[in-house]
Symmetry: C2
Subunit: 235 residues, 2 copies
Amino acid sequence: MHKYSKQTRLLLAVDCIIFGFDGEVLKILLIKRGFQPEKGNWSLMGGFVQVNESLDQASNRILKQLTGLEGVYLEQLHTFGETHRDPIERTVSTAYFALIDIHKYETQLSNDYHAEWFSLKRTPKLIFDQQEMVETAKRRIRYKAALHPILFELLPDRFTLPQLQILYESVFNATIDKRNFSKRVLATGLLIKLTDKDKKNSKRGAFYYQLNKKNYYAKFQAFMNFIPNPDTLLL
Amino acid sequence: MHKYSKQTRLLLAVDCIIFGFDGEVLKILLIKRGFQPEKGNWSLMGGFVQVNESLDQASNRILKQLTGLEGVYLEQLHTFGETHRDPIERTVSTAYFALIDIHKYETQLSNDYHAEWFSLKRTPKLIFDQQEMVETAKRRIRYKAALHPILFELLPDRFTLPQLQILYESVFNATIDKRNFSKRVLATGLLIKLTDKDKKNSKRGAFYYQLNKKNYYAKFQAFMNFIPNPDTLLL
DNA sequence: TTTAATAGTGTATGTTATACACGTTATATC
DNA sequence: GATATAACGTGTATAACATACACTATTAAA
């Protein structure tokens, strides 16, 4: 037996929603699409799945092409399969989302793709159903970050508590009491206090912390319950 | 512009993990596969995605073929895209999971497919990577049920607190104090106490409850925190 | 009428979440 | 060098929630 005859074969694509954090707001990386249809319009980075690569491999390849990064946080989000989502030809697309340290991102590669970071609050109109993909990714990242420490993936190796708090406040669009916040994050045992300070953002300076990697991997799946009223979060 | 030329088209399938609850343990519905390869072996219900149907439509069609049910809880789980997961030909499969009231399940249809319910603890060997699909579905249902009231989808319209508790204990493989359990579930405001009792399972009889549908849909996304040590749950 | 089996209920204690304000530090400025 | 400034870092009291735990009620069957 060689093939499943009489079955229709479809195009299968992968699209990546790449999140970064610049210290103030969450951003996503978009490119100007280089081919028809919708050539020149803002788009997620995507591509067709090749016959000799898995979906995970395809998404990693695409992520590397756009950011130059490998080994970053990348997770399958959802597969979008409406029949006419691509007007040219039936294409099913599996969306992935990535969380990267925006400072490690290599701009020379991005220039080849005319990539730009956009604040999530001011994203341009996207092609096809990509707006829905981004919304789904935003919901997922909020949902997951309310329960698991994924947001550290957006920060550099060394970060301060004020930076971390701004990140959480940005993702959840909420203000958090800094005394309660530091109690909570320090109670997780996930952070190691370093001896030197970041002096860029204040005169006094704020102590750097880094992740306790061992605890991080061990506790990654543990729930955290950072958010006061998670009822407002949607899956 | 008519087509994306030069791109490889792949087979795209949908596989359904159908959960039911018989009052004691969680079960999944399997069929004996009717065609090669692996003909006659136990398998999830699946099929190829047709060119004129979305993924959601395909999964609903397949669910209806096997169970006769429509409008039940059905959610996309994950897309499995390893290159050689199907030995015959590269096939990417999007897995869905369904939660159904086992009593509504129509057996006449199942007989056409030689379908059988299997306790999750005693499932036969499955074809391809379907064992992994089932494991992923089990993790997802536990994870989600720890936070959202999805398990009601497995129960009949009228159910008792002891039945509900057995369901939770079965899903989480844990014992729960019944005083604390009833406090918690009643505090959600999701249940309406009825006036009559189920006398099948005890001499005294246990009051029936039904879902407050309005609150159910309103609070579905709210976190519930039913489980004492969710650290043990994996995504 | 006695037995057996399951249903149903309350309280005390510990843990966790929340609300809330001021002294500390280091640079920059005068 | 004194002072002003701007952000950092910390503790406590209260409320809410989670947990541990045991007996009485009900009804069918013997």
